[in-house]
């Protein structure tokens, strides 16, 4: 039952934050909740609880393979948040802190949900909860981003509920007794009605694909990541998307049991490559370094989707990439937030010379950019290498070729933009020094710690972690 604490502990902290009377001390609740969550999830990673096949919420091999990086990312963001909210003392933080903690609890629930309906409820509530985070800055642009997030995300959520119902109907038609746990559905296997299963897959792929941000359902992402504070972007890109990816993996397991795994894998492959291509093209053109992060996230979701399509080895590599993506993206978003505050701008023309105005954040941003575009020895290089190997073995040379070409384009696009804002001379100093300009330890250490994690995962990831990913991939491919 320890695994349930991953859910109720953050929710309890959220409730506490909602009633906490002091603005100044409230952000520490983030750190308390996030820290406790990280300790517990690492504990469960090392000492997994005994299997409970029939439980609706369980720390099963898949949850074990994806929750720890989300947890680490949240802990780093919480530490950053304590410093960030002090810099932004002019904004009330009651809703912000409470909602962040609630989001952590709901993502933990989604990653552990083994029931189709429960999974939907968790992702739905997490989506609604994040809306206030997007308009933390209170500007017109932030409202616009929140509106688009709500309309696009809400539509995706509604479609995934319809897909959930279709899968339920497939089970009823096949003579099922209304057991909507993934194990129960997979046990029905070929008994599930094939047309309904395929209809469900299309709707669920569209719905959860929207939450993940796969192209062409990614349209909310640039606006949301561009306008939200850096730490919110980091948690959306490394946490929410992971939960949606887990949802797709679990549904795919049912498809495989029903004998439609081939169709599911093919659609994941096509969507993955399409997302990578779209993201690469936008990365070449965008002038805005926060929106760049969104397209980079679309690209990495494409990589995850591609990996999941490439058999057991590919799925294990994709789970490795979940870790790489969460940790490295965290550094990118947090350091980009620092740069945005220091420059007061985020486009090529307006923000230049950040290497001089905010040297440490700029160094972190540059290093993280190199890491996320798969430069060795950071972990994305190794996870993408494994996906490439799986692509060569399973998908053939064509898939691998497109994959490499998109990675190259993304690298060119991102390095162009990042170097343009870091190099050069800063624009004339503003008349009044901005308080957000200071690079305090509080906003530097968390992204640096995440980058170190990414480096460590690349250089010396223990063999046990490897086994965790492989166990999760095996768990997903096991037919009952």
């Amino acid at each position: 039952m320890t695994n349930l604490a991953l859910i109720w502990m953050p929710l309890l902290a959220a409730a506490l934050a909602a009633v906490w009377p002091r603005e100044r001390s409230r952000p520490w609740l983030l750190l308390a909740g996030g820290g406790a969550h990280a300790v517990l999830s690492l504990w469960l990673l090392v000492f997994p609880p005994p299997a409970t096949p029939n439980a609706w919420l369980a720390f099963d091999p898949l949850a074990r393979a994806v929750l720890p990086p989300v947890s680490l990312l949240f802990a780093a963001c919480a530490a950053y948040g304590a410093a960030y909210l002090r810099l932004r003392a002019e904004r009330p933080n009651r809703v912000f802190v409470a909602v962040l903690l609630a989001m952590l609890g709901l993502i933990s629930a989604a990653a552990q949900a083994r029931h189709l309906g429960l999974l939907w409820v968790a992702i739905e509530t997490a989506t609604l909860a994040t809306v206030p985070l997007l308009h933390f800055n209170g500007t017109g642009r932030a409202f616009e981003a929140a509106w688009k997030y709500l309309v696009v995300g809400g539509t995706g959520i509604a479609l995934s509920l319809l897909g959930t119902f279709c899968l339920g109907y497939a089970s009823l038609y096949g003579g099922g007794g209304g057991d909507l746990t993934f194990a129960g559905l997979a046990a029905q296997g070929a008994g599930l009605s094939r047309p309904w299963v395929l209809a469900a897959w299309v709707l669920l792929l569209a719905g959860y694909g929207t939450k993940m941000g796969l192209a062409p359902m990614h349209t909310w992402k640039p606006d949301a990541y561009g306008e939200a504070p850096g730490m919110v972007g980091a948690l959306l890109a490394g946490g929410m998307t992971t939960a949606a990816f887990v949802a797709l993996l679990r549904v795919r397991q049912v498809l495989e049991a029903a004998g439609a795994g081939e169709a599911a894998s093919r659609s994941l492959l096509v969507l993955g490559l399409f997302s990578m291509a779209v993201a690469a093209l936008f990365l070449i053109g965008t002038p805005d370094f926060k929106r760049m992060l969104a397209y980079s996230s679309v690209e990495h979701m494409g990589i995850l989707s591609l990996g999941a399509a490439l058999g057991t080895a590919g799925t294990a590599a994709a789970l490795f990439h979940v870790w790489s993506n969460s940790l490295t993206k965290g550094t990118m978003f947090l350091s980009a937030g620092n740069l945005h505050r220091a420059a007061g701008a985020r486009t090529i023309g307006e923000a230049t010379g950040l290497g001089l105005t905010a040297p440490r954040s700029a160094a972190l941003f540059l290093a993280a950019m190199l890491a996320i575009t798969a430069c060795p020895p950071f972990s994305p290089f190794f996870s993408e290498l494994r996906i490439l190997r799986a692509a060569v073995e399973n998908g053939g040379g064509f898939t691998a070729g497109i994959f490499l070409f998109c990675l190259l384009l993304a690298f060119l696009g991102m390095s162009r933009l990042v170097l343009a804002v870091i190099e050069g001379r800063p624009r004339a100093r503003r008349p009044e020094p901005r308080s957000g300009l200071r690079e305090t330890a509080g906003v530097l250490l968390p992204p640096a710690a995440l980058l170190l994690c990414s480096l460590w995962m690349g250089l010396a990831a223990p063999a046990e972690l490897n086994e965790v990913w492989r166990a999760a991939a095996r768990f997903l491919s096991l037919l009952p």
Partner: protein
């Protein structure tokens, strides 16, 4: 029983066309509200054995879909003092034609899908698909935030119609999930509409164009 059910689902499908063909926002809200009330009554006809859960779901659905949400929407309408949709992306007559085509197509599609014996000849599946498509159409082609919210309501109603096929066979909380979804979504949408209106003074989402490539 089945005839009565089909009649009501047919009425709900008619509301789709009303919403699609109307240029006046109060009329669209009225159509969505009427559809909500019809949908709220349906579980009483579907379920053979009435339990307090079913009755409670019905009452809650009718109150929320039929009264609370339309009330909120009318308040937003008054606050923004607007009445009409501006020229939409797809005109009213083309929208109506697409809506009608969607209804016919849905009947054909439902005929092609395997259905349980008690659901053959029922309009629930085609009604659900047609309502989802109409909702998506409104959501994508209308400019005013309030019409988009109505489109979202239609979309939700379509999903709800499909859920009726599973009523009594799926766990209770999925039913609760629908209501939670609806209330919270519109609650938040309401707040944001309020803010957008203060920010842009017109509820015209086409003015939300600062963020673009």
């Amino acid at each position: 029983m089945n005839d009565m059910l089909n009649l009501l689902v047919g009425l709900a499908m008619g509301m789709n066309l009303l919403a699609l063909g109307s240029s006046r926002l109060p009329a669209i809200i009225r159509a969505a509200a009427a559809q909500g009330v019809i949908l709220g009554v349906l579980p009483l006809l579907v379920e053979a054995h009435l339990t307090w859960v079913t009755v409670l779901t019905c009452v809650a659905t009718v109150v929320i879909k039929g009264f609370v949400i339309p009330h909120l929407l009318r308040r937003a309408l008054r606050a923004a003092s607007i009445d009409r949709e501006v020229e939409p992306l797809v005109g009213y007559v083309p929208s109506l034609l697409i809506g009608a085509a969607a209804a016919i197509g849905s009947v054909a599609l439902a005929g092609a899908l395997p259905l349980l014996r008690e659901h053959t000849g029922s309009l629930l599946v085609p009604g659900s698909f047609a309502t989802v498509i109409s909702g998506l159409l409104l959501l994508m082609t209308r400019a005013k935030a309030i019409s988009q919210v109505c489109g979202y309501l239609l979309l939700e109603n379509g999903v709800y119609l499909f859920g009726l096929l599973l009523l009594g066979r799926i766990p209770f909380f999925v039913e609760a999930g629908i209501l939670l979804d609806l209330t919270v979504a519109v609650f938040i949408i309401g707040i944001i509409v309020d803010r957008i209106q203060r920010e842009f003074d017109s509820l015209d989402t086409r003015k939300l164009t600062v963020l673009r490539e």
